[in-house]
């Protein structure tokens, strides 16, 4: 029997893999993909909780997370393109003008 706990643990594992991708990779595009993975893991948790509680509110918020993810990908990739044109790199370590 697959319960809510199973889905939440899987969601936690996927979220953690995404977090490791954000801290360990220096290619900005891959960092963005890791963020998408983290959003997807959150979606899985919401859909699983939605079924467990018999309430469809979770599905509605998954659709909103998808809209935010699409907006984030669009603007973020435009910023990466801009940075690549100005500095000729997509390496996060080379983008250190604002670094303290």
């Amino acid at each position: 029997m697959i319960t809510l706990n199973h889905y939440l643990v899987l969601s936690g594992i996927l979220f953690t893999v995404g977090a490791v991708g954000v801290v360990a990779r220096r290619n900005t595009i891959v960092i963005f993909m890791s963020i998408e993975l983290m959003l997807n893991a959150a979606n899985l948790a919401m859909v699983a909780a939605s079924r467990a509680l018999g309430d469809m509110g979770g599905h509605v918020f998954v659709l909103m997370v998808m809209a935010v993810a699409a907006a984030e990908a669009g603007v973020g990739l435009a910023i990466i393109l801009m940075i690549y044109r100005i500095r000729g790199t997509v390496n996060a370590d080379d983008m250190n003008l604002l670094k303290w």
Partner: protein, 167 residues
């Protein structure tokens, strides 16, 4: 029983795909691994009787967002030396340790989740009940989402256009 098979098969493929995504050096391989993860998640959504969300997962993520990623990867066309050698630094190891600690906490919290109430309403996860919720109870968040998308369109157009030379 069928749900257990779907959960373990697609859950395992999703975890393997995500691990591949963060370890491949070529961004195109990472993007394809992410597509695999998203398709597996869509299968899990079907197992959770969220059929509309599963369809949206395929159309929006695997269809639109990943195509955007692949376009940018191909537009930049990074060479081998631009990708850079993977370096192991102390801060990365610290970050990974903190992430794993976070995973332990997440799992500990997940195991305390309440039991399922059971019994789904008629048409759970279908498009009509979701649309009814979206346009009644959650109307304000829905409208705010449309403003977010508008802002994203304007932002992407302004950022990505080349500076015009003044005449």
């Amino acid at each position: 029983m069928a749900e257990a098979v779907v959960f373990y098969v697609f859950g395992a493929i999703a975890v393997i795909g995500s691990a591949l995504m963060i370890t491949r050096r070529n961004p195109v391989s990472s993007a394809w691994s992410l597509v695999i993860v998203m398709v597996c998640l869509a299968a899990l959504f079907v197992a959770l009787s969220a059929t509309f969300v599963a369809a949206m997962q395929i159309i929006v993520y695997a269809g639109a967002v990943m195509v955007l990623f692949l376009f940018v990867v191909m537009l930049l066309n990074l060479s081998e030396e631009e990708l850079g050698k993977p370096k192991v630094t102390g801060i990365k190891i610290l970050g990974i340790i903190v992430s794993v600690g976070f995973l332990v906490e997440l799992i500990a919290m997940s195991l305390r989740a309440p039991a399922e109430t059971g019994g789904l309403v008629e048409g759970f996860g279908q498009i009509i009940p979701i649309a009814r919720l979206l346009f009644t109870t959650y109307l304000l968040p829905f409208e705010i989402t449309s403003v977010i998308l508008l802002a994203a369109i304007v932002g992407a157009v302004v950022l990505a256009q080349r500076k015009r030379e003044k005449k």
